[in-house]
């Protein structure tokens, strides 16, 4: 039996038919983890018993018996939640995140905590205090980030699915690098209660899965209003699974000219363009569109996100939780040393940058101006969606890069999110799915839709997936 290879919906069928049990799936995954994860480093911790956290719920629940990995910034009661940072090592979550709670109620088994860039600051999973995660397709390369452990665990069949969080591409870019499906839902679609905050106007929790149907399945479990998150939207959750396999004939998709051409790896562009031809063959109307303020998205993001993070991370002060530096002579020194010793380089860079952008005399020129340009970026999407149902772009300008290749140059690292950042700034949903290979490495295609229209992503994504026959098994063999 090769249960570790299955999707969640395939496992459901096997369980229903009585030909497999959740314990068998967990046992298989655990033995794969024991064999492979010493090298890949997808997981940073497990529950004490090591058999996964589960709740006794009826078998007809949508994720009954499905083992999932949870990014280390999403709280699971009684387990560490460290954001892969020294400052939170040893911190045990006192309650479940709403996303965690929804998974447990749906019958999922929480298999372990997935590695990430420290506090989700990064695009390569190299800034984790637990060391980098490696890409299952090529262990000398990064899995992308920040949700690198979540993406790699699914790609290497060390989890059936996983949760990540996406602030500027942290689900979609690693999904692209690892050849799996990843969704950043609409801002407000999934509750963030119990997600350790990075940038509160951008963060969203979302799933990593092996196919689009599983993505719809997990999203239908995660989505919905939560009174515990004041930014959660009270908007009905449609039947996402009914979109799978529906005809896409007559749908209109736009190709934003700003996302093709300059700076993109030629093999990446070729793979995305060939997938677009497949959409056209299915009867989708493809037309050019323009999002003229795209070129400013990275700059806007690297002012807005650090500003919000400098505010959110002020709570890590050595007083109420996390690490306190010993031997400080007074309160100020205790704050400065606890934070100086506890945060890694990129976290400190972003805190200082954000503090500067919000400081007296600079606020108008930096933070306020960035928020104004953000409005123009959002309007670009509103204009485009008057003409089309969805946008198609590459997820990242390149396939997975080498470990160490960009870690010395923050700006080069930031630019690897150039195609994903705008969706967070505008609050729109976006899905990355594998569409081909570039020199043997996965290429991600990004679908972007109107706010609260995840249905369009699932419909187009599942139709395209059937045409592509992406060789997912290559990662399993390589890992």
């Amino acid at each position: 039996m090769t249960l570790a290879r299955k999707t969640a919906h395939e496992l459901r069928e096997l369980y229903r038919a009585g030909s497999a049990t959740p314990d068998q799936t967990v046992a298989e995954l655990k033995s794969r983890i024991a064999a492979k994860d010493g090298r890949l480093n997808c997981y940073v911790g497990f529950d004490a018993a090591g058999s996964g956290v589960r709740r006794n719920v009826p078998q007809d629940r949508p994720l009954w018996g499905v083992p999932v990995a949870i990014k280390d910034n999403i709280c699971v009661e009684g387990q560490e939640a460290t954001c892969a940072s020294k400052i939170l090592k040893g911190y045990v979550a006192p309650y479940n995140a709403t996303a965690t709670e929804r998974l447990l109620e749906a019958g999922a088994i929480l298999l372990g905590r997935a590695n990430m860039d420290e506090f989700a600051f990064g695009s390569s999973c190299e800034s984790s205090c637990y060391g980098p995660t490696r890409n299952p397709w090529d262990a000398e390369r990064v899995p992308g980030g920040s949700s690198g452990g979540s993406a790699a665990s699914v790609a290497a069949d060390l989890a059936i699915a996983s949760l990540g969080s996406d602030t500027g591409g942290s689900i979609r870019q690693p999904a692209s690098f690892c050849g799996v499906v990843g969704l950043k839902p609409t801002y407000g679609r999934v509750s963030r209660y119990g997600l350790i905050a990075f940038a509160s106007s951008l963060d969203q929790i979302g799933p990593f899965t092996k196919d689009v149907r599983d993505c719809a399945l997990l999203t239908s479990v995660l989505a919905g209003y939560d009174p515990k998150d004041s930014t959660s939207a009270d908007v009905p959750v449609p039947d996402y699974l009914s979109e799978i396999g529906k005809s896409v004939k007559g749908l209109r998709v736009g190709l934003p000219e700003e996302y093709f051409g300059k700076g993109i790896q030629p093999e990446v562009e070729a793979a995305v363009r060939s997938a677009i031809e497949k959409l056209r063959a299915l009867g989708v109307e493809v037309r050019p569109v323009s999002l003229p303020h795209t070129k400013y998205a990275v700059s806007v993001y690297y002012l807005v996100a650090p500003s919000e993070c400098s505010s959110n991370l002020a709570r890590f002060d050595g007083v109420r939780f996390g690490r306190r530096s010993e031997g400080a002579r007074n309160l100020l020194e205790m704050y400065e040393r606890s934070r100086g010793e506890g945060f890694g380089a990129e976290a400190r860079r972003r805190i200082v940058l954000g503090t500067f952008a919000l400081s007296s005399g600079y606020y108008d020129a930096y933070y306020l101006r960035a928020m104004r340009v953000r409005t123009l970026i959002r309007r670009d999407f509103e204009e485009a969606f008057k003409e089309v149902d969805a946008l198609v772009t590459p997820t990242s300008p390149s396939a997975a890069f080498k470990i160490g290749e960009k870690s010395a140059d923050p700006i080069q690292m930031y630019l690897s999110d150039i195609y994903t950042i705008s969706a967070n700034l505008a609050g729109v949903p976006a899905l990355s799915m594998p569409c081909g290979l570039a020199q043997g490495l996965p290429v991600g295609l990004q679908l972007i839709a109107k706010p609260f229209d995840e249905q369009a992503l699932f419909r187009l994504g599942s139709a395209l997936e059937r045409e592509l026959a992406f060789p997912r098994s290559a990662a399993r063999e390589a890992a």
Partner: protein
């Protein structure tokens, strides 16, 4: 933005840097600020800022008492606690 004063901003952020760290961080941050200078070329006259993609304001829950989480588990997670308080180094100097 060549005059980025890391020492000043780090103090505002309550973040300690060693002397050896100051120079390389300062030069990286100056580069990043140089990069975002491109926003100055955008005409934003009359454009309202977006602080948040969802148009919601003043979200209130129903005014009904609910059971809160207990205090003890939170105190147990603090680096130092005494009784029902978090303990920190002395703030006011002895003058005696």
């Amino acid at each position: 933005m060549s005059s980025f004063d890391l020492r000043h901003v780090a103090r505002l952020a309550r973040l300690h840097f060693t002397d050896a760290e100051l120079k390389p961080f300062e030069s990286q941050l100056s580069k990043i600020l140089g990069f975002v200078e491109e926003l100055k070329e955008v005409n934003v006259d009359g454009v309202e800022p977006t602080s948040h993609p969802l148009a919601v304001a003043n979200v209130f829950r129903a005014d009904e008492p609910v059971q809160s989480l207990d205090v003890e588990p939170f105190l147990a997670r603090a680096p130092k606690a005494r009784g029902r308080f978090f303990e920190v180094p002395k703030i006011i100097e002895d003058r005696s």
